[in-house]
């Protein structure tokens, strides 16, 4: 191969730098805004007096971000605690067994992702209204299962497929039950995959907006919907939104970076192998 010309290399570097800036800049700008006083929010220079007062204000009434953090965390935790074990069991069955309508059933799981959230929420809103589940975390967990479970089954089946079936057979000969094989052989061997699927589902649930917007008013409001309340009759309180944004992004960023290496391999692997 001929060496590329210096001009081409410089151009390539410039384009890459531009992309890097495009990705990082909006995040950095919002994070900086969280440390600004209201008077500094509207100026574009970097010469502002940093403050942490916004992080205190958002915990006070009427913002109560502490409660929002608890709500978001509880909803994400219970959604995963139900979805992941259920998905592990059925992903194992899809991975190891042949049965009637297997392809149809698996396709059905994926096809549910074509149903838009507004369709799912209409009947649930009406049902929760009758059952008194509006504005509860329980209600949010139930609807969040709809978006998380099929994804988890899809991803986990792929990771389980990569575990040699001989491992199951060896355990069967030793007299292990199927449940024991799942919990003591396949899940430990596919643990990185189980973690990737869980983190992916965590991000989906944590960032979920439309369900919480429609189903919650006060007690069960999540961090995402809490953002809307910073739009007041006094105008948008950008510095407080940005401070709340830090609480939203930091857990998701930590989770995403932790699995970044596997993310790439996992998702494309599932789709095009």
């Amino acid at each position: 191969m001929t060496a590329p010309s210096p001009l081409a290399t410089a151009l390539k570097s410039a384009v890459l730098l531009l992309f890097f800036g495009m990705i990082v800049f909006p995040i950095a700008w919002m994070m900086l805004t969280a440390f600004k006083l209201p008077r500094d929010v509207y100026q574009l220079g970097l010469g502002f007096t940093p403050t942490v007062q916004n992080f205190g204000i958002v915990f006070e009434a009427p913002w109560n971000i502490g409660l929002r953090i608890v709500n978001s965390t509880v909803v994400a935790f219970f959604t995963l605690a139900i979805a992941i074990p259920a998905a592990i069991l059925s992903a194992y069955s899809f991975s190891r067994f042949e049965f009637a309508f297997k392809r149809g059933l698996f396709f059905l799981m994926l096809a549910t992702q074509f149903i838009p959230a507004v369709v799912i929420i209409l009947p649930f809103y009406l049902m929760f209204r009758d059952l008194g589940l509006l504005d509860t975390r329980t209600g949010l967990v139930i609807v969040n299962l709809a978006i998380v479970t099929p994804f988890a089954v899809w991803m986990l089946k792929d990771y389980f497929d990569a575990v040699p079936i001989e491992c199951d057979e060896a355990a069967l000969i030793d007299g292990a039950s199927r449940l024991a094989i799942i919990t003591r052989v396949v899940v430990p061997m596919a643990l990185p995959g189980v973690i990737v699927a869980s983190v992916f589902c965590f991000i989906l649930t944590w960032n979920e907006f439309i369900f919480a917007l429609i189903l919650t008013r006060d007690k069960a409001v999540t961090l995402q919907v809490g953002l809307v309340s910073f739009r007041t009759e006094r105008g948008d309180l950008w510095e407080l939104m940005a401070a709340a944004g830090i609480f939203i992004t930091v857990p998701a960023f930590i989770a995403a970076v932790a699995i970044q290496k596997h993310f790439e391999a996992g998702l494309t692997g599932g789709a095009v192998k």
């Binding site: 191969m1 001929t2 390539k12 570097s13 890459l16 730098l17 890097f20 495009m22 990705i23 990082v24 909006p26 700008w29 919002m30 929010v41 574009l44 259920a86 998905a87 069991l89 059925s90 194992y92 069955s93 392809r103 698996f106 059905l108 096809a111 549910t112 074509f114 838009p116 959230a117 507004v118 369709v119 799912i120 929420i121 209409l122 009947p123 649930f124 809103y125 009406l126 609807v143 299962l145 709809a146 479970t149 099929p150 991000i203 960032n207 907006f209 919907v225 953002l227 939104m241 940005a242 939203i248 992004t249 998701a252 993310f263 998702l267 494309t268 692997g269 789709a271 095009v272 192998k273």
Partner: protein
């Protein structure tokens, strides 16, 4: 327990969840779409009205507006996001400091919530003090006086830009995964045979990742069709209803006007569009073995 029973038993929890949280609501929404049910007038469903809700939907200019907005948004959004991410993925293949730096931040926008992205871009596209509005105005002087979110075309542009920003780094990750499987030898051979780098990319590399490109197109199209979160938090469907997508229109009829029958009919129309595209794409691009091996 024998495997013959176990194989079905293991499926039960996830199937119950999926049926209960997606197919039941779908069925229920279909039933409601044939009824007259305004929540502001009656807490219980009123009479059956046949196809009236559907007929009414197709007569409304707001429906056709939302359909047009959705088609414009999806087309531009998908084309731009996929083209940009494919280009970036090709640039990121080789090792280098800038390459690894950029690769390291690719996951961040995807982990950010669409609601927060909408809020952030609304701040940054503010006509008076938005850093992006000012920055773009400085780079392209004719755009300096544009009040982005108050002008129909520019509000749509801001919506597309924010969604492209959310998705292109993630799509780049998908393409990098696909490119990693392309053997370097095929390119080297083409270059030795005298092909230019551009010819090599177009005729040798890209055909080998056709499948990945197709999957990226499907994924992006489906998510773009469902677009709601940042419509709500960035433009609020405005100015007027010039950026109101179908999903946002269903939301407005259902949860601002509380007309359940009408909203259900619209929701079913949106689902039909999504399922239609889903089936066509699945047939077109996904080999059957992907669905179940």
């Amino acid at each position: 327990m024998p495997d013959r029973i176990m194989r079905y038993l293991l499926l039960v929890p996830a199937l119950v969840i999926v049926l209960g949280t997606t197919l039941w609501p779908l069925g229920s929404a279909i039933a409601t779409s044939f009824r007259n049910w305004r929540l502001k007038r009656s807490p219980v469903p009123q009479g059956w009205v046949g196809l009236d809700n559907y007929a009414f939907a197709f007569e409304e200019p707001e429906f056709w507006n939302a359909l047009k907005v959705t088609v414009v948004f999806v087309t531009l959004d998908v084309v731009i996001a996929v083209a940009v991410s494919l280009g970036l993925a090709l640039l990121l293949r080789r090792a280098g400091v800038l390459q690894s730096l950029t690769r390291a931040v690719l996951i961040l926008p995807f982990a950010m919530s669409p609601a927060l992205i909408g809020v952030s871009f609304r701040f940054m596209f503010n006509g008076e003090y938005g850093v992006l509005a000012k920055g773009i105005g400085w780079l392209v002087p004719p755009l300096a006086d544009v009040i982005w979110l108050a002008s129909p075309g520019y509000a749509m542009a801001a919506l597309i830009l924010s969604d492209v920003w959310h998705w292109f780094p993630y799509l780049t990750l998908i393409f990098l995964g696909g490119l990693a499987a392309v053997p370097v030898e095929t390119e080297e051979a083409a270059l030795i045979d005298g092909a230019t780098p551009w010819q090599t990319t177009r005729l040798v590399v890209l055909p080998q990742i056709k499948g990945v490109i197709a999957v990226a197109l499907v994924l992006k199209t489906i998510f773009a069709l469902k677009m709601f979160d940042s419509v709500q938090t960035l433009t609020g469907a405005g100015p007027g209803i010039t950026t109101q997508t179908l999903a946002h229109y269903v939301y407005t009829i259902g949860f601002v006007h509380y007309d359940m029958g009408h909203a259900s009919a619209l929701a079913i129309v949106l689902t039909a569009i999504l399922v239609g595209i889903g089936i066509v794409y699945t047939r077109l691009v996904m080999p059957p073995k992907v669905i179940a091996r």
